[in-house]
């Protein structure tokens, strides 16, 4: 830092009072300018968020009517909404136990030696582009059975959700006081009973939070749906996950590829519903996380 070096070069007399050197004004100006740049960057990010959300709300609100939400193709989007909920629910049912078990392995069993490799696997899994996961499941299931299905998409979404749930759970498990584990052991409780009856319940809030967040992420994932589950027409609700299930992201993508103003309106309406659900899940999970953290760290 230039300011310290310059002081050292001069004859520095500690008894002298500190006097502003000639460039102090300039240093303050530089500091102010950089601080305003930082503020401007934050303002810009919030502005982009507001602009995007405003566009979705203002265009989407025109499309939304009761009939739009409940009826099927071509006038409404009901089956897409039900289909997305169905696929995401199946994915979450698969991902949640696996994610929680991995987190338990990391916090209770792994020890020094195994934590790093498992953590690394989770990080890599988290960083995998969703299109690659989609291609993988396509080769494994769709190409083998020659049939697109909601289940195939759900498996791909589960692979996306597992690292998110595992990481979130791991963070709350870390907050469970060591004293509780020791107290359980001192009372002669076997380890597995301690984990199932003391540690997991204490972390339940965090697990639910992580799951909600991963649901929010999965609901908007388009690449797996596009490759694995995109052929349904959407004129009726499809509850059988072994068939193609109509879903929201693919519908928005398809409508955006067609140059059709009415289709655009429908896509805006769908976007509004999707974004509202995702943001509600995000806010809800945040509130829940704060509550359960307060409980644990009290």
């Amino acid at each position: 830092m230039s300011v310290f070096r310059r002081r050292a070069q001069e004859d520095f007399d500690p008894t002298q009072p500190l006097v502003a050197t000639g460039n102090l004004g300039r240093r303050h100006v530089v500091s102010r300018v950089i601080q305003s740049i930082a503020v401007a960057a934050a303002v810009a990010a919030v502005a982009v968020l507001v602009i995007v959300i405003w566009a979705v709300v203002s265009h989407g609100a025109k499309a939304i009517t009761w009939d739009f939400v409940t009826s099927g193709y071509p006038t409404g989007v009901g089956p897409y909404l039900v289909g997305t909920a169905e696929v995401v629910a199946i994915a979450t049912l698969m991902a949640m136990p696996i994610g929680v078990l991995i987190a338990l392995f990391l916090s209770e069993y792994a020890g020094r030696r195994w934590t790093r490799p498992v953590q690394l696997v989770l990080d890599v899994m988290n960083g995998l582009p969703s299109i690659i996961i989609a291609v993988f499941i396509y080769i494994l299931i769709v190409a083998a059975t020659k049939q697109q299905s909601g289940l195939a998409a759900a498996i791909a979404l589960a692979i996306i959700e597992v690292p998110l749930i595992a990481r979130g759970t791991q963070e709350v498990l870390r907050l469970v006081p060591e004293a509780q584990r020791e107290a359980a052991a001192a009372l002669g409780v076997a380890r597995w009973r301690g984990i199932l009856t003391i540690i997991l319940p204490a972390a339940a809030g965090g697990i639910v939070t992580a799951t909600l967040l991963s649901v929010a992420r999965a609901a908007g994932e388009t690449a797996p749906m596009l490759l694995l589950n995109s052929l349904a027409k959407g004129d009726a609700v499809q509850l059988n996950p072994l068939k193609e299930v109509p879903n929201v992201p693919v519908r928005i993508f398809q409508l955006s590829e067609e140059a059709n103003p009415e289709g655009f309106t429908e896509a805006w309406g769908l976007s509004l519903i999707l974004i509202a659900i995702i943001l509600a899940l995000g806010l809800g999970s945040r509130a829940l996380l704060n509550r359960s953290k307060r409980k644990l760290t009290r």
Partner: protein
């Protein structure tokens, strides 16, 4: 234990129920083992999935790899009807869009991190932080749709002509096209996606820099910026590098939003304002309608390249974080 304490409290009941009978011991021994095995199996399953993904994708790409070899990377002709596949155009497109996202998004995101962690009062931080994270929660398909309908026209009517007129001598800023679907648009959308990721990681990094170090520098007469440049940024350099690599991984792999705004071209060119393609977006656009086995295999080839780059950037991020320590290293 002959004098039995009065019953009643939960812990006493628990202790009593835990009296060791042989049957109970057997159950516990089995339970311990079972839970351990299940947990370890889940962790193993995650590893297995990663390995399987690599194996299947590379195996699927085999026909294209044996036909085109490494020339695939340098050949720019992508013509499905002629069975001619070269990935140079989309690889270049991937590099340009990701670089754009990183060079614009990185500094902006780090500035946001500085603002949130060091400059903003707590009340402001508590409002802005969730908003920035909300930006990350917007699904890519909606962001791409917005880029297509709202951002594209704005770019093609105002910003692109301006950049072409002022900086047109650089080949990057070629003549604008008639639609807003361009490499430039895709780069901006990726920038928007990358910013919240890097911003929230760097905010956490900056908040972990010990207060004492900053106060010390301030007491020596540093201005706010000098504290940041002299203390905060150097101690978090490795963490910021890792954060940027994470953002890069996201930008490289984003398929849907890019597919919506980039225009779906495959030829190789440097102009930002022409339609282009990226590896991930080409897979999303052409996979459902692939015309031949070789076409599909070539798309798998792209996926395999993407996978290698993605895993490499992840491992590099983790290695940088480990090797050069996080902000916690400053306290040692």
């Amino acid at each position: 234990m002959s004098a039995t304490p009065p019953a009643g409290t939960a812990s006493l009941q628990l202790a009593r129920s835990n009296r060791q009978s042989p049957a109970r011991k057997r159950v516990d021994r089995f339970g311990d083992l079972a839970l351990f095995v299940i947990c370890a199996a889940a962790a193993l399953l995650a590893l297995l999935v990663i390995v399987l993904i690599a194996k299947e994708v590379i195996e699927g790409a085999q026909p294209a790899i044996s036909r085109f070899g490494l020339e695939f990377i340098t050949n720019s002709e992508w013509a499905p009807p002629l069975e001619q596949f070269g990935g140079k155009g989309v690889i270049l497109g991937t590099l340009i869009t990701s670089a754009m996202a990183l060079f614009i998004g990185g500094p902006v995101a780090i500035s946001i991190g500085i603002f949130l962690a060091l400059l903003a009062p707590v009340s402001v931080r508590n409002v802005i932080s969730p908003l920035v994270e909300m930006l990350a929660a917007i699904p890519s398909v909606i962001l791409g749709f917005w880029g297509l309908l709202i951002l594209g026209p704005v770019l093609v009517n105002t910003i692109e002509p301006f950049l072409h007129d002022t900086l047109g001598f650089i080949p990057l800023f070629g003549a604008p096209q008639t639609t807003g679907n361009s490499v430039f648009n895709a780069g901006l959308i990726l920038t928007i996606m990358v910013i919240p990721i890097i911003a929230s990681v760097s905010r956490d990094l900056f908040m972990a820099v010990p207060r004492d170090l900053q106060d010390g520098a301030a007491a020596l007469g540093s201005t706010r910026w000098e504290v940041i440049r002299g203390v905060v940024l150097p101690t978090t350099l490795s963490g910021m590098t890792a954060a940027c690599l994470l953002g890069l991984g996201r930008a490289l792999g984003e398929a849907i939003a890019v597919a919506q705004v980039i225009g779906g071209a495959t030829e190789s060119h440097l102009s930002l304002f022409k339609p282009g393609g990226t590896m991930a977006s080409l897979i999303a656009l052409q996979f459902p309608s692939a015309v031949s086995k070789l076409h599909t295999a070539s798309l798998y080839y792209l996926a395999a390249l993407l996978l290698v780059i993605g895993i490499a950037s992840n491992l590099l991020a983790s290695w940088v974080g480990q090797r050069f320590g996080g902000a916690a290293g400053a306290t040692r």
